[in-house]
């Protein structure tokens, strides 16, 4: 079977997702992702002319919130969420842009 995705692309995706993968994993994922993508290639063979693209399988109409303020989370609960809080802020590692 012809490969759709290369080992190099697997590395790129892993880096984008901040995942460290081993050489073995890279080989394994390359095979797995290729078989998934091959399956989509199979689906692509179907003639879909005149069919509206389906990004969603539910055909419901929108549900809306009205624009009225409800209570946010109590301060105490918010502060219990972050492992590192300082002066009301969440503390995160600095990321160089």
């Amino acid at each position: 079977m012809k490969r759709v995705i290369s080992g190099k692309e697997i590395e790129h995706i892993a880096r984008l997702a901040r995942l460290a993968i081993s050489l073995d994993e890279k080989k394994e994922f390359t095979v797995q992702l290729n078989s998934i993508l091959d399956y989509f290639k199979k689906i692509s063979e179907l003639n879909t002319d005149n069919i509206e693209p389906t990004a969603y399988i539910i055909s419901k109409t929108n549900r809306y919130n009205e624009d009225s303020v409800r209570d946010s989370l109590p301060k105490k609960e918010v502060f219990s969420l972050g492992p590192f809080m300082e002066e009301g802020f969440f503390k995160a590692p600095r990321i160089m842009e």
């Binding site: 624009d67 009225s68 946010s72 802020f89 600095r94």
Partner: protein, 485 residues
């Protein structure tokens, strides 16, 4: 080389909703304690689900309609994935290949030369705002970011223009007029300093002879209308210099340094983030019903440009004055309310812009809170045109109307400016005035009403408004009758 500057803008406006785009947390975050307006949805806690704010959709549709865009009956939300702590979910819910609206334009005008240009709008889409990162001490040395999620999830409309602006000045003009428009419509408060309106710009130089497009650079961190222009001017000089020296422009994102007034490289094309967009599974496709579009369209008020043109046509105002009443719509409303009650628009206009605004600004009062309503100002002006008081006295009365909140007639009655009611005294004054104004007497004899009013006015002026106008009129008419018999 004959060249052409090509500029495109990407503008984010915070929509004026009370609540966030996908939850019911308040959007009132300026000056608030950090992380008070947050909930499981905007903190991205597992199991929470976004629900669309209807008002945000309506405001975005309204903006899109005014920008002459085609509203897509079905649009989709996508996840834009990136790792940065300003969004706790590690993705921003935005729109991608099916935006809310596309293919519009905004016509802007050069105020002095009266030239209008059409600037194409590629798209308008909805997305959520990100949180704010704060760094203590020197930014480059800080080890940590402090994150405040109060702003996270506030609805934004992103507006992307076609690269159809041809100078930094034009880009600034476009942005200012777009700001005025969204402010006027009440969809955004348009405050660039506070970040409720933000702008990125891209710029390139096209060779006019070959028509070949130059490589563009994108500029970020533009926090005022002035910095948009300054940054683009700097970037234009920088690119020209490189090209003149036979160099090559690199496609990159550059950061505007406000202090040093320069742009510095942020990231190159190779480093451009790969956002891996995919459809947001937690939200349904957004369907905009025709009924909604029609309802919103019906409620769009007269636009500034339309009003400006109408003011000139209807009241014969100068371009400058019409622009002033358009830029300050409350002042424009004041003028129009008064104009409906008073025939002399020129006089009214002068009194509003010179006297009323002068006294109000002395007292630091906005026109919105003027103690003198349009009706009361007209009341005062009528006393002047009727010759009851002189313009000069009118001015001092207006000043007192502002400080006391009283009506003109009330002030005249209560004031120490005692009226002269004595017939003999007025007769004497009328004689004096007649001696000084022989021409008017001739006019008066031939029955000109204007001359009568003029002479009454002169008596009023002579007595500093103290003579009783009815009496003056009566006495002058009596004299006239004597002559005519």
């Amino acid at each position: 080389m004959s060249e052409e500057v090509v500029i495109g803008l990407e503008i984010h406006i915070q929509l004026l909703t009370k609540t966030k785009l996908f939850c019911s947390c308040s959007t009132d975050y300026i000056g608030k304690e950090p992380n008070l307006n947050v909930c499981p949805v905007c903190l991205g806690l597992p199991g929470s689900l976004p629900v669309l704010n209807k008002k945000a959709i309506e405001l975005a549709v309204k903006t899109a309609l005014v920008l002459n865009c085609k509203i897509n009956r079905v649009s989709l939300f996508h996840r834009k994935n990136y790792f940065y702590p300003d969004l706790p979910k590690n993705y921003q819910i935005s729109q991608y290949d099916f935006p809310l609206a596309e293919n519009g334009y905004l016509e802007i005008s050069y105020p002095e030369v009266r030239k209008n240009i059409k600037v194409g709008i590629i798209r308008l889409h909805l997305e959520e705002d990100a949180g704010k990162l704060i760094h203590k001490g020197e930014i480059t040395r800080a080890n940590h970011s402090w994150v405040d999620y109060n702003r996270t999830g506030i609805p934004l409309a992103e507006i992307v223009t076609k690269p159809e602006l041809h100078s930094p000045e034009e880009a600034q003009l476009f942005l200012i007029q777009l700001r005025n428009l969204v402010k006027y419509l009440g969809v955004c408060d348009g405050n660039m300093e506070e970040g409720s309106l933000r702008c990125d710009a891209n710029i390139s130089i096209r060779d006019k002879k070959t028509g070949a497009l130059g490589t563009k650079t994108e500029i970020k961190n533009l926090n005022s209308f002035r910095s948009v222009r300054n940054a683009l001017e700097f970037e234009l000089r920088r690119q020209k210099k490189i090209l003149e020296q036979g160099g090559r422009i690199i496609q990159e994102t550059r950061h505007w340094n406000e202090e040093k007034k320069i742009t510095v490289p942020m990231r190159s094309k190779e480093e451009a983030p790969d956002y891996r967009y995919f459809p947001e599974p937690d939200l349904l496709p957004l369907r905009i019903e025709q009924e909604m579009i029609e309802r919103i369209n019906k409620n769009i008020p007269e636009l500034p440009e339309q009003r400006r043109k109408r003011l000139i046509k209807e009241y014969h105002l100068s371009e400058k004055d019409a622009q002033m009443y358009t830029d300050h719509s409350t002042l424009g409303d004041y003028f129009e309310q008064a104009a409906a009650l008073f025939p002399d628009k020129k006089m009214l206009n002068n009194w509003i812009k010179v006297e009323l605004l002068g006294y109000l600004s002395k007292k630091k009062i906005n026109i919105e809170h003027s103690p003198v309503s349009p009706e009361r100002l007209v009341g005062l002006l009528k006393l002047i045109t009727q010759g009851i008081i002189t313009g000069k006295i009118g001015k001092s009365i207006l000043e007192r109307m502002i400080s006391t909140g009283q009506e003109a007639s009330q002030i005249i009655q209560e004031s120490k400016i005692k009226q002269i009611n004595d017939q003999e005294e007025i007769k004497k004054i009328v004689d004096i005035i007649f001696k000084e104004h022989n021409d008017s007497i001739e006019d008066l004899k031939s029955g000109k009403e204007k001359a009568l009013n003029y002479l009454i006015g002169q008596v009023m002026r002579y007595t500093k408004g103290r003579a009783k106008p009815e009496l003056v009129r009566e006495i002058i008419k009596k004299k006239l009758n004597l002559w005519n018999t």
